[in-house]
Symmetry: C2
Subunit: 417 residues, 2 copies
Amino acid sequence: MPSLEFFRLQTREEVLAHYDRFGPVGVEEMDLADAGGRVLAAPIMAPEDVPGFLRATMDGYAVRAQDTFGAGVGTPQYLEIKGEVPMGAAPARGVGPGETLRVATGAMLPPGADAVVMVEYTAEHPDGTLEVRRAVAPGENVLKPGEDVARGELLFPAGRRLRPQEIGLLAALGIRRLAAYKKPRVVILSTGDEIIPLDGTPAPGQVRDANAYLAAAQVAEWGGLPLMHGIIPDDFDALRKTLAAALDAADLILISGGSSVGVRDLTLTAIKDLPDSEVLVHGVALRPGKPTILAALGHTPPKPLLGLPGHPASAAVVMEVLGRPLLSRLAGVNDPSPWGRTVTAVLSRNLAGATGREDYVRVRLRREGATLWADPILGSSGLLSPLVKSDGLVMIPLGVEGRFKEEVVGVQLFGGS
Amino acid sequence: MPSLEFFRLQTREEVLAHYDRFGPVGVEEMDLADAGGRVLAAPIMAPEDVPGFLRATMDGYAVRAQDTFGAGVGTPQYLEIKGEVPMGAAPARGVGPGETLRVATGAMLPPGADAVVMVEYTAEHPDGTLEVRRAVAPGENVLKPGEDVARGELLFPAGRRLRPQEIGLLAALGIRRLAAYKKPRVVILSTGDEIIPLDGTPAPGQVRDANAYLAAAQVAEWGGLPLMHGIIPDDFDALRKTLAAALDAADLILISGGSSVGVRDLTLTAIKDLPDSEVLVHGVALRPGKPTILAALGHTPPKPLLGLPGHPASAAVVMEVLGRPLLSRLAGVNDPSPWGRTVTAVLSRNLAGATGREDYVRVRLRREGATLWADPILGSSGLLSPLVKSDGLVMIPLGVEGRFKEEVVGVQLFGGS
């Protein structure tokens, strides 16, 4: 007998709290050139200073700053030009009092120099004298050793997703190989006797397996490896056997497609029949998305199973709201940016909320002068076309009656928008 | 002699206008399962109706809506249950006046039925009679054939980037293969005698090739294929020869690294020496990013070359502001969402703009209660670490003196945030 708790709808927060029992799915080594978007599996310390030497950030002249004090347009100072610093090599000589060397951006400063006068504020005289028309402070137009990164500094903690700038900094430090969490393998199964493969021609009463493709594209976009394992007939033995086999191949199982109560009950029975399985959630307080299932399968460690609602719009919303954070968890992401995918816009009409459920309304964004409008796109959650017309979701929290026309709202953007 | 125009800084809008001469780089066929994030090369029309039949969107009973008129809790109507509709098959019989068939979500409605009464509003009596406690309107709880997509309808124009929901809709229509624009091949070259490969140990005056890795990660994230072609010495012949060879392999050439005026001049001379080359931009009114170069190479069709500033932060900003739209152009994207990567936040301090230049300031986002603050991250554009600490950019337009503390600003998010 299922416990009564299974029939209580759980809130988004309650569902997310269950994710604590799942963790990153493994570690692999890779080249830095392949690590963009990946998640660090171990903290990285800086093995050396960046820059490694006192470096010019402007084209000009390496000087002792004190030699320029008092210099101005009407009161130039004069220095003796002793040559130039070659790029990519140590200077052949230092800069003594009253002396200067030409430097290009990126060049190493010669011993004795502590600043660079920009070429714009100088003139070279035929006798090898430099006229300096502006004073510089010590450290001006130079980078000190370790100013960007100091040796031994914690660069990035484990769980950091590597953006292009992180890749650039690791390159500057010569870190060519790193350990990242593996991409979670996500087995996608479809259920429902009415579902046929993509290459079939639907007979009356049949539909193609659209939800599995939608979910697979979401998984790939969010950094997972989708593995489409096909369609299972509405049959207990087939379902149980397929689930047991999927457990070997998967870090996460998504069951998609079965939209009737009968298929969902069958799925639930098959899950419960697996050894060491535990149904954590059976029904969520979301609209759309109520018939969502979350289960933990096995124990070394447990693997999550997410049973998606059958309606495509419901499945897509559940994937955005619950699937994406689960994938982030399995991918080892620490503290995913909460603002990364939310824009603010002005609602173009009143929206009533759903009693007792957190409500997600699809919206299209429309710019009109300085205002970004969010136009609700209504329509049955059995339809795909409203999703295609939408840029994202507006959420009406639990216990809130609705949102008003001209209210400023956050719009959680769909991927790829 | 270079014309004087080369020395006038061009605005962002002027630079973007040059992109009109470049276009998508070619077309390839692929499976739908591989098409997530890709850009359609041809419009797609719906080959059939979705759904293809009158479909139940709820579990319940298929009825003639008029048979339920007047039904209420105190005034139930009674119908005769004639069996059920199997999933994935045509119903064996129709529904006559006073009759009903059980249907599950997704099942085909039998001839004669035009609505579904949800199971919640019914009771089955032992004699095979259904008690209906709520009236339904014709079309209630069903999807009509073609309601999602009508046969012959333009689904997507060419230039549409395929998000997961577009993939789902194409799957529903059985479209397994499609024509997408090829991913632009982006050859990345570094210049500068001070630049060494990643696996080298920098001698005094040398630095590793960080900018090329940063640019490659950006290109990959934005849907291009980065091809790292290594470091060219500061030598006219080497540069010219490498550029000529890169033209065969590339749809876009990025030159990264050379930060001194001398290297930039050499690059410019080498570009001008290539047959059919045209320097379109030499200097942009952006801060950071002034020493940017844009050129068109060859003529069948011309290929763009973008010369990036040498400072890493400048290069990263130029890639975001100018490189990304150029890549979108080459990828065939039509109308990239202008809001897709912009969040609004409140500036936490005053910012002065740059005279005569559009100014981009790195910011970190910080949530405090209901407010999303944008904290400016200052520091030389020669540094990588401020970029790593930032979530995005705030732009101060040309001719605007600055932005004020507590002003609401748009933050253009970096990728992966």
